[in-house]
Amino acid sequence: MSKTKETLCLTFPPEVSGQPVVCNLVRINDLDFNILKARISPKQEGQMTLEIIGDRKQCRAGMRYLKELGVKITPVAQKIQRIEDSCVHCGLCTALCPTKALRMDLNSREVLFLREKCSACGLCTSLCPVRAMVLETENGIWEAIAEGA
């Protein structure tokens, strides 16, 4: 059976922050996973960007499991933002951007960020040397500076 990959932005309420949710999630539903980003806020809320890999049914069951625990799921699309004041238009991020959402305008020599093309893969958040590319959630911006996985 073919596998799908879902990237999820998860927000854990304080009461589940301490539990081995991800561990159970993948064990019960037989999923592979990849933690792209994780952090616990000062309010004890956990936030995580998680990739789950498995067949479609398992992925859906996994998401149901999370919802039952009170974990909020937001699809990851359109979650990458550029802090415009911070970007120096060097162009380095264009090296790895897989969708060409980040591209150099050859006339103005400015780097364009075409948000609608962005797949929120997150590569640019660790690549941008001045950390102008950030992951944004309902709780505000996740500093790329918060440790990655």
């Binding site: 120096v88 060097c90 162009g91 264009t94 090296a95 020599r109 690549l127 040397p129 500076i145």
Partner: protein
């Protein structure tokens, strides 16, 4: 170089015109067309100063500071940290030097590869310019004259007795275009390089770059006054690794990384817009530095040099997958800076996407800002007291 000149001006004459608000100043970009349309002799008569600019990561940069003595007893601070980034304390009692590439002490470095290097010396410098306080920690070993052993205090930039940006090597004249012929992705100080030469990363601001506009350092030396980090700085000599005798094109432009500058300036007059802490994935921390050098147009030869265009500049293509780390002195030919700017170059058989590291927009902004300073009469030229050897 030794033909008699038809135009002859001195820096003193140019400064007189600047003070009177009469100097004609062009950016290096504007000078290209000026020389093309007027010819070098007329351009030399008409134009007094050409301004250049670059904004790029420059690892050999740092901050020389004096923290002042704390409440008695006094200290000889031999180990010093700013926001947990170690500074070098092997100087007089409360002097220390913070290097731009020093990571914070608890950084995991490349243990989790590729490391992120979130915070280092360059970031401390930027934070100070943003008006933030940094936490200073110092240890002394205790002497009869300096009995204190520890000191801890928060410092804003103005709290330092002195804070001097002191950069041993900046503004490289030409730089490699980096590619990777190996079959795995690598992370370098030139950014990430995909396997099998899938991208080519390059630095320098091309025709705007200071040392391409005066390739033999005729006007640049100790005492040249410059735009540094948004404030005033000075060239204090050749930078480390300065190569005075590179191979050159017919125009005199070096074909390899060659000339460099050592510069300094008072950090208290600088701006965070032009000094940015940077983190290179898998490589380390650094500081992006904004530098603009004014070039006095003393004669038609200087007009000709400053008329340099992107098509004249030839950049060597170097393999960072194998050759560079192993010290193999070889390149895969040269490409022009104009080719690099076009978005793709040919390396051997394949077409390769080009990726810049130097901000062109900020480089141009620096050249334009310096032009305004000179036009308004607030910035006059410094006369080099000792020249930097280059031939």
């Amino acid at each position: 170089m030794n033909k008699p000149k038809m135009v002859k001006k001195t820096i003193r004459e140019i400064n007189d015109r600047i003070s009177k608000g009469q100097a004609v100043v062009l950016t290096a970009r504007e000078m290209i067309d000026a020389v093309k349309s007027m010819g070098k002799v007329v351009a030399a008569r008409e134009v007094d100063v050409v301004t250049t600019g670059t904004f790029s990561p420059m690892c050999s940069s740092g901050l020389l500071f004096n923290m002042g003595q704390p409440e008695p007893p006094l200290i000889k601070a031999s180990k010093v940290w700013l926001n947990d980034v170690p500074a070098y304390g092997g100087l007089a009692a409360v002097d220390a030097f913070l290097g731009a590439t020093e990571p914070s002490e608890d950084d995991p470095l490349n243990k989790v590869y590729p490391g992120r290097f979130n915070y280092g010396g360059g970031h401390v410098i930027e934070d100070l310019l943003k008006g933030e306080k940094v936490h200073l920690r110092a240890l002394g070993y205790g002497t009869d004259c300096y009995p204190r052993r520890t000191m801890e205090r928060d410092y804003a930039l103005e709290d330092f007795r002195s804070a001097e940006l002191l950069n041993p090597r900046n503004a490289y004249q030409n730089y490699n275009c980096a590619v990777n012929f190996s079959d795995k992705l690598i992370y370098t100080y030139m950014g990430p390089l995909k396997p099998r030469c899938a991208n080519a990363n390059y630095a320098t601001s091309g025709a705007l770059s200071p040392l391409f506009n005066d390739p033999f350092f005729r006007t640049i030396g100790l005492g040249t006054k410059i735009f540094l980090g948004g404030g005033i700085g000075w060239v204090i000599g050749a930078g480390t690794q300065h190569n005075p005798k590179p191979l050159r094109t017919e125009r005199g432009l070096p074909l390899t990384p060659s000339g460099t500058l050592m510069v300094k300036g008072d950090l208290k007059g600088m701006q965070s817009r032009y000094l940015r802490g940077v983190s290179f994935l898998g490589y380390g921390c650094s500081l992006s530095v904004g530098i603009g050098v004014p070039i006095p147009i003393l004669d038609e030869e200087m007009a000709w040099f400053t008329g340099v265009s992107d098509g004249d500049i030839m950049i060597p293509v170097v393999d960072y997958g194998h050759d560079y780390p192993n010290g193999v002195a070889r390149n895969h030919g040269h490409v022009s800076y104009a080719d690099l700017r076009s978005g793709a170059i040919r390396v051997g058989e394949r077409e390769t996407a080009t990726v810049p590291l130097t901000s062109y927009t900020l480089s141009l902004e620096i050249a334009q800002t310096l032009k305004q300073w000179i036009e308004s009469g607030t910035f006059t030229l410094g006369e080099a007291q000792e020249h930097i050897f280059s031939e």
